[in-house]
């Protein structure tokens, strides 16, 4: 599966059970990224996506178990460490800002198992620069 995660410049993801940030244009980016394929997420994340009517979103608390090989998964407050075997690709969106954090993204993407295949930048609706990085699993 392909996991999509947003992080700040210190690899933070959440603070006090709340997302650090959000961006309308980023959501549109993610919907486009899925190209009509199913996008899995939990109810917490869906609350933010529910106005994106054209997306094919599957909502479940157990979406990381349910998602198939080709599926996209938007992850905000889930532990992906138990699913690394299933993950073929990680798409990281970086806010390029610093927020408080108590939950971090700590997959070591430099451990030789991941290859950075693409990097791009774009302007969000409230973020000057969002960086998108795509990591493919090598082995």
């Amino acid at each position: 599966m392909i996991v999509i995660i947003c992080i700040d410049e210190k690899k933070g993801m959440m603070f006090h059970n709340r997302r650090q940030s959000q961006d309308r244009i980023l959501r549109e980016h993610i919907i486009k990224e899925c190209k009509g394929r199913k996008l899995y997420m939990n109810p917490y994340s869906y609350h933010m996506f529910k106005q994106n009517q054209d997306a094919s979103i599957v909502v479940s608390e157990h979406f990381l178990e349910q998602a198939g090989t080709e599926a996209y998964c938007f992850v905000e407050n889930q532990n992906i460490c138990h699913y690394l075997d299933k993950i073929q690709e990680i798409v990281l969106y970086q806010w390029n800002r610093h927020y408080p954090a108590d939950t971090y993204f700590t997959v070591d993407l430099s451990d030789g198992n991941w290859d950075l295949v693409r990097t791009e930048e774009f302007k969000g609706s409230s973020h000057e620069k969002i960086t998108r990085e795509v990591y493919k699993k090598i082995r």
Binding site: H16, H98, P100, T106
Partner: protein, 293 residues
């Protein structure tokens, strides 16, 4: 329960803890420093690591009748020593600035000194810190909204919390109740820190909710809070000299680093997740956090 059963239970518990901490996900902590809930500012632990501690379980202390969808901003009058008091606002998009920030250099908050140190980011120890950040309320040189704060407090402590609120308000159009209270001890001219509380209004804290104390400190610098005078921290220098003999050992899986003398430092030497850094700064630049023990 006999001794063996108790010991067995503890072993299982410890193994579970070890397993959990080796996962690629760091679970929320109660406070950045102590792991204990702080309900009173008098019980604040002395600064040791981390720019802030959580107060009252991270729950802000606003009452229900304060929740309003109308934007406002209020600033306390300066006290007899010309020190700032609480700044309180309901942040909405209508309060946010549409222009670049103007000059604030003419304001000299209490405890102000223009002083430089090589190890401080940007060299200057002190910044004029907005209680309510410019990006939230657009206040420029308002003396009731500016205190003397270290670069560390400004950038590592307060700014991330302001950013979180600013993004939320811009993206949702909702309001955030926002209160920043500088904490001065006795007649001190320099605040020991600020309490920051925030709560999103329309969703009743679902999007934003925090209550933290941010320390007005600068690692490596000793500060006299009575006057704001400062000097290089000799204790820190001695510690640095001792540590200079040993490398910093990071764990690439947990993203935690260990300094010579810390509990798991020796153990890390044989770890397959060992990453070596020349300095703590280098480790932190790579997104690592210092081990608590």
């Amino acid at each position: 329960m006999n001794y063996k059963k108790i010991r067995g239970t503890w072993i299982i518990f410890i193994i579970c803890c070890m397993f959990l901490t080796s996962c690629s996900f760091v679970l929320p902590e109660k406070t950045a420093q102590t792991g204990q809930e702080i309900t009173n500012l008098k019980d604040l632990p002395a600064y040791s690591e981390g720019a802030y501690v959580e107060l009252n379980g991270n729950i802000p202390q606003f009452s229900e009748d304060e929740l309003t969808e109308k934007s406002f901003e209020t600033y306390s009058d300066l006290d007899d020593l010309q020190r700032c008091g609480t700044a309180y606002a309901n942040i909405g998009t209508d309060l946010m600035p549409v222009e670049e920030r103007g000059s604030i250099g003419k304001v000299k908050p209490t405890g102000w000194h223009t002083v430089k140190y090589d190890q401080v980011d940007g060299k200057y120890l002190y910044n004029r810190c907005h209680l309510i950040g410019y990006q939230l309320s657009g206040e420029n040189a308002n003396e009731k909204n500016l205190i003397t704060g270290t670069r560390y407090m400004n950038v590592e402590g307060m700014l991330p919390f302001e950013n979180m609120v600013a993004d939320y308000v811009k993206e949702t159009g909702n309001h955030v109740l926002y209160r920043v209270t500088p904490v001065f001890e006795e007649q001190n001219l320099l605040a020991k820190g600020v309490q920051m509380e925030a709560m999103s209004v329309e969703d009743q804290g679902e999007g934003i909710s925090y209550n933290v104390f941010v320390y007005n400190v600068q690692p490596g610098i000793y500060i006299d809070y009575k006057t704001g005078e400062s000097s290089l921290d000799q204790t820190d220098l001695e510690q640095t000299d001792t540590q200079a003999e040993g490398e910093i050992r990071g764990n690439s899986r947990s993203k935690i680093y260990h300094c010579p003398g810390q509990a798991a430092y020796e153990q890390m030497a044989d770890s397959k997740y060992l990453v070596i850094f020349k300095s703590e700064q280098e480790a932190e630049n790579e997104g690592y956090r210092k081990a608590k023990r």
